[in-house]
């Protein structure tokens, strides 16, 4: 974006920047390039290895179940409920991804899902690297990408939000090119339409558009202000309102905001976690470099403020903040490494990255049928008992294990899952008393009338169910315990 492309390095025009310096210097640069390429490939390999692990994110299961239901009896206009306790009207905000993933599961099972998301992770790293590489040389771009990945690591899971991250980086790149070229990025309007089908954080792209357009207006001289840029975020909102879900999609943002207090990833960020520390370090270095330079353009400045605001206020937005700051940091650091590259170097770099990605996709395809066939982090040992429960049985749960129960045993009704949009606020408030066993927990349990409970082992609720309501523990698996009502109760 204007004012941020300070580096004289122009890798996209290698012919204009032939190799310079003494032979020793060139030799040293070649070695640095080789080592950096190795680091970049190692980064991609690390991401691929991570993707080969069994699916372990609790939310994955309700996304898969929703996807299957949307291929079946549910409609986008009137989706059903995953459990009888979820009685609120809700709007599917990520239906396209959920349906895609459910179909992939039908075809290839859980390994197919793991592979698909592995491909998404690699795509994310590549677009992020591309955004940084546009403004800096190989070394700096790799460093910035690595730093941003530390902040975004927590978001890389089998959930549609990974696609939001990719589309967010792409949106940033499209804006940058458009502002530099003095064009209006109309492409972002249909892109937002797609994004609005894929995941609910399409609004982040609209906010990004507002900020970039405002920055571009402030940076432009009077009389030549590109007011037309403001039409893009406006049209993007219109595009989001005309998906198959309709204008209700806009209102779904309010539903989420009413429930943020119940969802840990929507809570304010703790800056004592590694992802937050990594982001703070990136932003801190950027501020120090900018303060040393002075006279920073409005656009990058507003982008930094947006990133800091998001990072400070919402844990989930930390990853978005990091990918926003990474290219800015890369551009600034590039000023310290004015290393023109040759066309041959660029070709070699592209070849290496392409080959690495293709090899890693193949490697994942070979590995996942062995490594990702079974889910992880779920109480699988309870499956026979849960399968024996009558259809429509309520199961008392206190954590996200309810999502897995819904996915594995569609006939059961866990008392909670991760799909909080589908629960009324009143229900969520009442449920809040259950895990800490505060006043009102017993009446909640009585009203839910569960036939079984899958609780966190050693939790206050487990103790209360046993000691106060006379339930018995009949099985244990990893961090959970399976309880059934005692004779007296």
């Amino acid at each position: 974006m204007s004012g941020t492309t300070q580096t004289p390095v122009r890798p996209e025009d290698p012919a204009e920047a032939p190799g310079e310096g003494t032979p020793a210097q060139r030799s040293f640069d070649r070695k640095v390039t080789a080592v950096t390429l190795l680091c970049l490939v190692a980064l991609l390999l690390r991401v691929a290895v991570y993707a080969m692990k069994p699916l372990a994110n609790a939310d994955t299961w309700f996304h898969l179940r929703i996807g299957h239901e949307l291929w079946g009896p549910w409609s986008l206009a009137h989706p059903g409920t995953l459990t009888r306790f979820a009685t609120a009207d809700w709007v599917p905000t990520q239906w396209a991804t959920e349906m895609l993933v459910a179909k992939v599961e039908d075809w290839f099972g859980l390994p197919g899902v793991a592979w698909l998301f592995g491909a998404f992770y690699l795509a994310f790293v590549l677009v992020l690297y591309g955004a940084c590489r546009r403004r800096a040389d190989l070394l700096v771009a790799t460093m910035a990408t690595g730093a941003a990945l530390i902040s975004a690591a927590g978001v890389l899971s089998v959930r549609p939000q990974v696609l939001s991250l990719i589309l967010f980086v792409v949106t940033g790149m499209v804006w940058q090119r458009a502002v530099e070229a003095g064009r209006v990025p109309w492409l972002l309007v249909p892109l937002t339409w797609v994004w609005a089908c894929v995941h609910g954080l399409w609004s982040a792209g609209v906010v990004l558009g507002v900020v970039v357009a405002a920055g571009a207006l402030l940076d432009a001289p009077r009389g030549a202000r590109p007011w037309r840029l403001l039409s893009i975020p406006l049209l993007s909102v219109v595009a989001a309102a005309v998906t198959p879900v309709g204008p209700r999609l806009l209102a779904s943002q309010l539903t989420v905001s009413a429930r943020t207090g119940f969802i840990s990833e929507w809570l304010p960020t703790s800056f004592r976690t590694p992802p937050a520390i990594a982001f703070a370090a990136m932003a801190g270095v950027l501020v120090l470099l900018w303060a040393h330079r002075g006279k920073i353009a409005w656009t990058p400045l507003l982008l930094l403020l947006l990133a800091c605001g998001w990072a400070a206020l919402v844990t989930r937005m930390l990853a978005f903040s990091a990918v926003l700051v990474a290219p800015l940091l890369a551009a600034e650091l590039a000023a310290f490494r004015n290393r023109p590259v040759t066309a041959a170097q660029v070709r070699a770099e592209r070849r290496t990255v392409t080959v690495a990605v293709v090899v890693l996709l193949g490697l994942m395809a070979v590995a996942v049928p062995r490594t990702a066939t079974a889910p992880a982090g779920v109480p699988d040992r309870f499956a026979p008992r849960l399968a024996e429960l009558p259809q429509g049985s309520a199961v008392l749960v206190e954590d996200a294990v309810g999502s897995w129960i819904e996915y594995r045993f569609p006939g059961l009704d866990p008392t909670i899952d991760g799909m909080f949009d589908a629960y009324t606020l009143d229900y969520l408030h009442r449920f809040q008393a259950v895990p800490p066993v505060a006043a009102g927990w017993a009446s909640f349990v009585r009203q839910a009338h569960p036939q079984a409970a899958v609780l966190v082992r050693g939790s206050a609720l487990e103790a209360a169910m046993r000691n106060r309501l006379g339930w018995r523990a009949v099985s244990r698996d990893a961090g959970w315990v399976y309880l059934v009502p005692g004779r007296a109760s």
Partner: protein
């Protein structure tokens, strides 16, 4: 003037006329700033006598400052309501009595860990004030400290800025510190952080080292445990000045200020073991909410966030920024992001930076009131606030607030040494009000072993093992929060009875009655 301007350009002082010349105190700066502002050619519409609107605008900074003073005085006139105030008073009384600084006793029999008194002088002073004037006297004392805090922050801002920017930045800092302004020794630290940072700004301007920071740190180390913040500020400023080239040939000598401050802290009556007390705090930080990570959705943190954001815009849109301001900002951001309790100190560091940056922005639009008017008005306002405070506290702060006072007769009737289950800071009030009663916890967590605090945590969360904690405590009475997990467990599982309510607390007795 041109030469001076260019030499200061990279130091962030370029547009503050007063700082281009030598000066020795706040008021000289004021005069020079005002002269510079007044000497500017009048803008269109400024010719002739100032309009009533303009006159009003000229006085607006003082009005804002007076409003802030009144607000702070009003906070000071409130009844004491911070849970920790009570154990500080109790500790102060015991230091005047049976406790020694080297071997302080235990506030309750459950507090079995050896601990180091880190704020004994403030505790003893406030205990003596209570002896003489009762709780109104304590409220008055802390009201004075709050006003001193406001004046210290305004003084630090004013040294670098005009009155409007100074008042705005001070107001922001006071809001950011609003939850910290309570009857606890930590407000003394807030004042001294403002004094320390102001001292280094003066050093930056005139090159003279403020050696009086050493004895001040000695006093600080007896008054409150956050004296380390002063040492860190000194270290950051020393490094910043060294990087700016302001300490040519004196880098080593200037380093003696932070180093000497650290040494001074080891020379209090407690000796070097005061340093170890910092480790005791860090061991317990996960169990203390105000030492937890900051949430930027709270008003104080949000205010600091906005202050930093505005500062960044003003700085980064301008010329280069000097190393000392930058390091102070980094320190402030680190504090604000990592520790809830350090949000207020962070605001104190940011306020002068913000005031200076705002002044550069407002310089051409604001006429400042005369130096004499400002001094007189501020002094009179402070005196009026002090007098108002003295008049108000005997009726407004003569009793404790936010405590389960309705349970006093029951607690008074308990035999000496009776253990009482509590889950919040009401334990500290109990210790102060009924020294013979033994609550299972209070806010002086340094004096509890980490193992005990983990067991207390189990009780408080009603997790498996909580009944063992209750049994070991020997308590037959409890003052608990209504509806909490522990209260629910006591009633539903251990069959304790609620015998009285004083929202949000309930008084419970064990089956078979209290003993």
């Amino acid at each position: 003037m041109l030469a001076a301007a260019s030499s200061t350009q990279c130091l962030g002082l370029r547009d503050v006329p007063a700082l281009r010349a030598s000066f020795t105190d706040t008021w000289t700066v004021t005069v020079q700033t005002e002269r510079a502002a007044v000497a500017e050619p009048p803008r269109t519409g400024d010719a002739g006598a100032p309009s009533p609107v303009r006159r009003l605008l000229n006085r607006s900074p003082l009005a804002l400052l007076l409003f802030l003073m009144a607000l702070v005085a009003q906070v000071g006139a409130q009844p004491l309501n911070n849970g920790d105030a009570w154990f500080h008073l109790r500790a102060g009384h015991l230091f005047w009595g049976s406790w020694s600084l080297w071997h302080p006793g235990a506030p309750t029999r459950f507090a079995t860990s050896a601990w180091v008194p880190t704020q004994w002088s403030t505790e003893m002073l406030t205990a003596k004030v209570e002896d003489w004037f009762g709780l109104p006297g304590v409220a008055f004392f802390y009201g004075l400290v709050y006003l001193a805090f406001l004046v210290a922050v305004y003084g630090a801002c004013r040294r670098l800025s005009g009155p409007l920017a100074g008042a705005v930045a001070t107001g922001a800092a006071v809001f950011a510190a609003s939850t910290t302004l309570s009857a606890r020794p930590q407000v003394v630290s807030l004042v001294l952080i403002a004094v320390t940072v102001d001292a280094w700004w003066r050093t930056r301007a005139d090159g003279r080292l403020r050696w009086w920071l050493l004895p001040m740190t000695w006093v600080w180390a007896t008054a409150h445990g956050l004296w380390t913040a002063g040492v860190l500020v000194s270290l950051a400023c020393w490094l910043g000045l060294a990087l700016e080239g302001r300490l040519r040939g004196r880098v080593g000598r200037a380093f003696l200020v932070p180093l000497g401050s650290l040494v001074a802290a080891t020379l209090t009556p407690l000796g070097p073991k005061l340093l170890l007390s910092q480790l005791a705090v860090s061991e317990r930080t996960p169990m203390i909410a105000e030492w937890g990570a900051t949430s930027f959705r709270t008003v104080p943190a949000l205010v600091v966030g906005v202050m930093v954001a505005v500062l960044l815009v003003l700085w980064l849109r301008g010329e280069r920024v000097g190393a000392m301001p930058l390091l102070l900002l980094v320190l402030a951001c680190g504090w604000a992001a990592l520790v809830t309790r350090l949000v207020a100190p962070a605001a104190v560091l940011v306020a002068p930076l913000l005031a200076q940056a705002l002044t550069e922005r407002l310089r051409r639009r604001t006429r400042v009131p005369t130096d004499r008017v400002e001094r007189v008005v501020v002094a009179l306002a402070a005196l009026a606030c002090v007098a108002g405070l003295a008049a108000a506290v005997p009726s407004s702060a003569d009793r404790a607030a936010g405590v389960p006072d309705a349970f006093a007769p029951r607690l008074a009737a308990l035999p000496r040494g009776s253990a009482v289950l509590v889950e919040d800071s009401s334990g500290a009030w109990m210790e102060w009000r009924f020294p013979g009663v033994q609550p299972v916890i209070d806010g002086l967590l340094d004096s509890y072993s980490v193992a005990y605090m983990r067991r207390f945590d189990t009780f408080w969360r009603a997790e498996p093992g909580w009944r063992g904690f209750v049994a070991d405590s020997g308590a037959r009475n409890a003052v608990m929060l209504a509806g909490s997990p522990a209260t629910t467990a006591l009633v539903e599982e251990a069959h304790w009875r609620v015998v009285q309510r004083d929202a949000p607390w309930v008084y419970l007795v064990a089956p078979g009655g209290a003993r």
